[in-house]
Amino acid sequence: MSDSKYITLISYDGFEFVVLREAALVSETIGAMLRGPFREAQTGRCEFGEIRGPVLEKVVEYFHYHYANRNQTDVPDMDIPVDICLELLMAADFLGLDSKPQMRDIS
């Protein structure tokens, strides 16, 4: 099960999303869950006790959006629904979906 191409993400209200493992690895948090000596790594099922179904759905959509566009330039922006924007922002922070940190000037 753990080497399956797909993993399952579960929201706190019980929605399950089956996602391509490679796409989900955009998230550092999920990467760490699947790598470490955790139950998630063995079962390939990640539960998120703080993320609602609709929000997780959008996150999964983002995974695939990101995966499909990973080698492309000039990618159109994904649509973010305004009503779950803040929740999504929290989820993005939790999942480590930040842009790669640029080296900053020391000063």
């Binding site: 990101h66 566009n69 994904m78 973010i80 922002l89 930040d98 000063s107």
Partner: protein
């Protein structure tokens, strides 16, 4: 109107166009072409008039029910359009109408055959979406496109056959021809709602290409989509008026939102409230232009534990606000003010004397006259914990102020950008006093500094990580080489900016007999000393560094792992080869600026690297693809 009657070639002509000459050399007369075209137009106009008469006749016939009478054949040689007018005369109205119909059909068939053979049709046919059934539709569409009369002409309605004037809004009938406006309205009712054009998602009012270029120059460009966080912040900033509270977002994200809002100039008294949580320790306002003094009071009384305050464009941060700040129990450790010209000298002194004790960092940008030597004089005694001092774009501080700075023994980071010319000796004295513990030294726009300052750096500085000396007109290559010799006990620098340290001599710009500015030896010495640790190097405008020096520094066996960004604009000797060597030697380089390096022509840029400023027509930026 026949050709024989015309007198071609017997006219006095003015100057001719090149095309006319060319045509004349091939025995084609441009005038003839023009006259022919005029003739055709005239004939068409005549036909129109006749056509109106036809219409009247037709109506008459319709009433008589005598419409379908077959007609005898007619002379095929005459062009249809031009002839109708003449031929009609002397024949019965019925004959005329059916003949016109027949000719119209014939002409149409001819035209359709022609279209079928044309390139345009073949091209459309190759379109994968089009099946064979569509062929006729395509031909029909092309034919209608061609045959459509121009606006302003008269035409018979394809449905009710009445005569009407064609306008740009005239609709096509389902089976060819145009319809009059009442019939058009009927047609419009039957039409399903027009398909909405699918809008392209990216780009928007600014073109996608332009946006990409702008993102590259902003340094926010990367391959692939934006991160989910940026997308959310973008959406949030667009709809910030809907947000009542940012909730428990981590400070890092709140800061990002603040930056985004300020970038769009959306920070105003209402949106400011989102960032004022009582438990916060820092408030960062990147654009305070819309805030009034009352809003600043609000910051102080709603965030009682404030430690770090940053306000850019702090126009209304004035004496009253400082007074309020002094009276409150707020202990600021970090104060960053930009453009606060309404604070008087007296208030600065009062603030520093009363609240200077905990202050660790003081940064003051863009002040005209009130942040003075007298203010700096207070710092050594009243700010015992100050480690960072920045005074930028300041018009009041002179050498006396620098002498006061020299007394701040705790200082680690010092940035000065002063408008007053100050003698190098003052800087030497400053470095002698506080040089040993300095980690950052930025001296921006100092044309009067000379080698004595470089020697003082060499002598006294042990901990420098970031060094900036710009616009010096007196420092020499030998001076830089002396600074970066191996005997300098300072470890390698991380950030070095020596832009525009070069000779300024307009009469003999190429010659540099005294070796003024950063040239070969200095460049080699600095890369030998700091190359391994440097992340950011700026030698913009040091135009006497030769290509040999670059090639020697960036040979195949040398790598500079840490180098992240390099700016070598206006170094005239930089060639394609040098740029290639730089990419080879700096595996982690992300961005290289080569504005004004005219010898850079056609470089292959490795994937993921950005080369900015190549002087070619393709644009200014090349993002590596291989």
């Amino acid at each position: 109107m026949s050709r024989q009657t015309r007198t071609v070639g017997c006219r006095i002509m003015g100057p001719q166009s090149a095309l006319t000459d060319f045509l004349a050399s091939h025995n084609i007369s441009a005038n003839q072409i023009r006259l022919d075209a005029e003739a055709r137009r005239r004939a068409a106009a005549q036909d129109n008039q006749e056509g109106q008469a036809d219409a009247a006749q037709q109506q008459l016939l319709n009433e008589n029910g005598d419409f379908d009478t077959p007609s005898p054949g007619s002379d095929e040689d005459e062009p249809v359009v031009a002839s109708t007018g003449r031929v009609t005369r002397g024949r019965s109205a019925a004959q005329v109408t059916s003949e016109v119909e027949r000719r119209k059909k014939e002409k149409e068939k001819h035209a359709i055959d022609k279209i079928k053979a044309s390139k345009k049709f073949q091209k459309r046919k190759r379109d994968p979406d089009a099946s064979d059934d569509d062929d006729d539709d395509i031909v029909r569409a092309l034919f209608n496109e061609r045959a459509k009369p121009l606006p302003g002409q008269m035409e018979n309605c394809a449905i009710c056959n009445t005569r009407f004037t064609v306008t740009p809004y005239s609709r096509n009938a389902p089976d060819g021809g145009l319809v009059c406006s009442p019939c058009g309205k009927e047609l419009a009712k039957d039409d399903p709602a027009p398909k909405k054009k699918t809008k392209r998602a990216s780009g928007g009012p600014v073109g996608a290409r332009r946006q990409t270029q702008s993102r590259i120059l902003d340094g926010t460009y990367h391959v692939g989509g934006k991160s989910l966080m940026s997308l959310c912040i973008q959406t949030l900033a667009k709809n910030i008026d809907l947000a009542e509270d940012l909730g428990d977002l981590p400070p890092k994200i709140v800061d990002k939102i603040a930056r985004k809002l300020s970038k769009h100039r959306l920070l105003n008294p209402t949106t400011l409230s989102l960032f004022l949580k009582p438990s916060n320790q820092e408030v960062l306002v990147y654009d305070g232009a819309k805030l009034s003094a009352d809003d600043f009071y609000r910051i102080f009384h709603s965030v009682p534990e404030l430690k770090k305050l940053k306000v850019r464009n702090a126009i209304h941060f004035k004496d009253e606000v400082v007074e309020y700040l002094v009276d409150r129990h707020i202990v600021l450790e970090d104060l960053y003010l930009h453009g606060c010209n309404l604070i008087s000298e007296g208030k600065w002194i009062e603030y520093l004397q009363k609240k200077g004790q905990p202050l660790r960092s003081l940064r003051v940008y863009w002040t005209d006259k009130h942040f003075t030597d007298a203010v700096l004089a207070v710092i050594p005694t009243s700010c015992p914990n100050l480690t960072r001092l920045k005074v930028c774009h300041n018009q009041a501080v002179t050498g006396e102020g620098l002498n006061h700075i020299a007394k701040i023994a705790t200082l680690r980071h010092l940035s000065l950008d002063l408008r007053e010319a100050i003698h190098p000796d003052v800087y030497v004295k400053l470095l002698t006093a506080i040089g040993p513990q300095l980690e950052t030294l930025c001296l921006t726009r100092v044309p009067e500094l000379d080698n004595t300052v470089l020697d003082a750096l060499h002598m006294h500085c042990r901990n420098l990580k970031k060094l900036r000396i710009t616009d010096s007109e007196l420092m020499t290559d030998a001076g830089f080489a002396r600074l970066f010799t191996s005997t300098w006990s300072n470890p390698g620098l991380v950030f070095l900016d020596l832009q525009k340290c070069r000779q300024l001599e307009s009469t003999k710009p190429r010659e540099n007999p005294d070796g003024i500015g950063l040239c070969d030896e200095g460049f080699k010495a600095l890369m030998a000393h700091s190359g391994k640790t440097l992340q950011n190097l700026n030698v913009h405008g040091c135009r006497h560094i030769s290509s040999n020096a670059f090639e020697e520094v960036f040979t195949a066996d040398k790598t500079y792992e840490n180098m992240h960004k390099m700016e070598i604009s206006f170094c005239e000797e930089v060639t394609d080869f040098v740029v290639g060597c730089i990419f080879r030697s700096c595996p982690n380089l992300r961005e290289l600026n080569v504005f004004g390096c005219m010898k850079v022509k056609d470089v292959r840029v490795p994937k993921g690297k950005i080369l900015v400023g190549v002087p070619n027509a393709r644009g200014m930026v090349i993002e590596g693809e291989d």
